[in-house]
């Protein structure tokens, strides 16, 4: 058993040495793989950041709570004060029916027609501003709660833009997955081709190995390790590209965010995401090598 691990360790370092033997060619392959992996990683980070930002959208959303007719000012103000205590509520503003009518007259242009009415048709309204960092689900819940209050006729949230954003994010997420999948196939093919060339370059050596009793598993091993290294180092290149890019962009983005009066901090690749990037890269590389090896190693037989 110890022998077995020793042999694997030897092959591991041998494959590493093979990569170092042709530094330029290896570097080119690593860059191709790295860039392929960096693209979906960049999109992923962008998406994560947009999502992070949009969870704090409470500041912009407003719930209009229409009170039942006949609710007097005192009751309305009491309710406003009560709602103010709610954990997801930031500010509650009461607009009494008279004020609402005055505003409506002023903005709608129906002033004369409204004068013809013998009584004010508008209900009292509470404008509820959700607290910052209220999630979409919490917002829904809040609107529902407000709607069931006895004094309330209707609680309404203009959800359109929120829903649109959500839909957009969903499309973006799918696109990242699709693109990631395609580029992963690209990485597999790139490594597969690199390993194929390595196999053909060492055709004679492989023939000799077979003649002196090397099993296919033995001959395969260094190539699989090479593929694994290509993927792993390619993933590292991708990680460096993404992290470097974020580092370069951090300052202007911080500046932009500051202009919006937010203290949002740009999120980079998290530890799990980095692991996925490196592990996924290594897996793709190994898979590519595996494909090349299974196709070309059997063809090479001593003659």
């Amino acid at each position: 058993m110890k022998n077995y691990f020793m042999r694997h360790l030897q092959v591991l370092f041998y494959s590493l040495g093979q990569l170092a033997r042709t530094p330029l060619a290896s570097l080119m392959s690593l860059l191709v793989i790295g860039i392929s992996l960096a693209l979906p990683a960049v999109l992923y980070v962008t998406l994560e950041n947009i999502q992070q930002l949009s969870t704090g959208w409470g500041g912009n959303a407003q719930v209009s709570v229409f009170l039942k007719h006949g609710t007097n000012d005192a009751d309305a103000r009491a309710l406003a004060a009560q709602l103010q205590q709610h954990e997801h509520v930031s500010v509650v503003q009461y607009i009494d029916p008279d004020a609402a009518l005055a505003e409506f007259k002023q903005h709608s242009g129906f002033g004369d027609a409204l004068d013809a009415l013998d009584r004010n048709p508008l209900p009292g309204v509470l404008l509820v501003e959700p607290a910052e960092n209220t999630s979409a689900a919490q917002l829904d819940e809040l609107v529902e709660t407000l709607g069931t209050l006895p004094q309330v006729d209707l609680a309404q949230l203009d959800m359109k833009w929120v829903k649109r954003l959500k839909a957009l994010l969903e499309i973006a997420r799918r696109s990242v997955l699709l693109l990631g999948g395609l580029l992963a196939v690209g990485v597999v093919l790139t490594t597969s081709n690199t390993i194929r060339l390595a196999i053909l370059n060492r055709r004679q050596e492989i023939e000799i190995m077979k003649l002196i009793g090397a099993t296919n598993a033995f001959i395969r091993r260094p190539f699989l390790y090479s593929g694994w290294f290509y993927g792993l180092f390619g993933g590292t290149v991708a990680w460096l590209l993404v992290t470097g890019g974020l580092w370069a962009l951090a300052e202007p983005i911080q500046h932009l965010v500051a202009l919006y009066g937010s203290d949002y901090r740009l999120a980079g690749l998290s530890a799990p995401a980095s692991l996925v990037l490196l592990g996924g890269g290594a897996l793709m590389g190994w898979l590519g090598a595996r494909i090349a090896v299974s196709r070309h190693l059997a063809e090479i037989e001593p003659r």
Binding site: Y4, Q204, E205, M209, I212, G213
Partner: protein
């Protein structure tokens, strides 16, 4: 040790390389396989090392019927056979030591065992002082000796050689042949394909002669 019973080999293109060849070689023998190029010498060696399979007939090597050895067992089968090639087939980017150690590495021996046996093999072919060199820096005769060391390092039961002296001058050829004879004295079955008539006369060993795929002469039956 090597037993051919009416063995024929026809290649896919329809060329008959061997026609019903029968012979038997015992454990302690050293035998030469003679004949012009194209007579079928290489085919015989390929059948023994399982590079090719017979089209007809029975071929027993080391008490194993080659037809009954599945593909995946071939590497293990080959570990009992040492092969010396005319063009040496050395790995030019590895040292003499690494070349000779290859059969042991492949078979999964441990580090200490490998260095002990490689040094013993290199000592036998008198190249211990060149272990750290690359094969390109060696002369043709030395490269051939590296090939021989690699073939015997695994202590195989059978030693095959395909024109081992083809590119060497007389003095080096004599050296190489004497080396083979020495291994034979240590109990290894040695089977050498050659058209070097001088060596056949000099060594005075059994000779099998092939002509156009047929065994036309066996000195065991018809002494020279």
């Amino acid at each position: 040790m090597i037993h051919f019973h009416h063995v024929s080999k026809r290649y896919p293109q329809g060329h008959d390389a061997l026609k019903s060849v029968s012979f038997h070689i015992d454990d302690d023998e050293m035998v030469f396989l003679a004949g012009h190029s194209g007579a079928g010498k290489s085919t015989v060696l390929k059948l023994i090392s399982l590079i090719e399979r017979p089209s007809r007939g029975e071929c027993m090597i080391n008490n194993k019927n080659v037809m009954k050895i599945p593909r995946w067992r071939i590497p293990y089968f080959r570990r009992d056979i040492g092969i010396v090639f005319q063009d040496h087939k050395l790995l030019m980017d590895r040292t003499v030591f690494d070349n000779v150690s290859l059969p042991l590495v492949v078979a999964g021996h441990n580090h200490r065992e490998i260095s002990r046996r490689v040094n013993a093999a290199l000592d036998k072919v008198d190249l211990l002082n060149k272990a750290k060199l690359l094969p390109v820096t060696l002369s043709g005769g030395e490269q051939q000796r590296v090939g021989i060391a690699r073939a015997v390092v695994n202590k195989p039961a059978i030693l095959l050689a395909d024109e081992p002296t083809g590119n060497l001058d007389e003095r080096l050829s004599d050296e190489i042949m004497d080396l083979f004879a020495e291994f034979n004295q240590h109990g290894v079955t040695v089977f050498i394909a050659t058209h070097d008539l001088r060596q056949l006369k000099r060594m005075q060993k059994r000779v099998l002669q092939l002509h156009q795929g047929e065994l036309v002469f066996d000195s065991l039956e018809q002494p020279l």
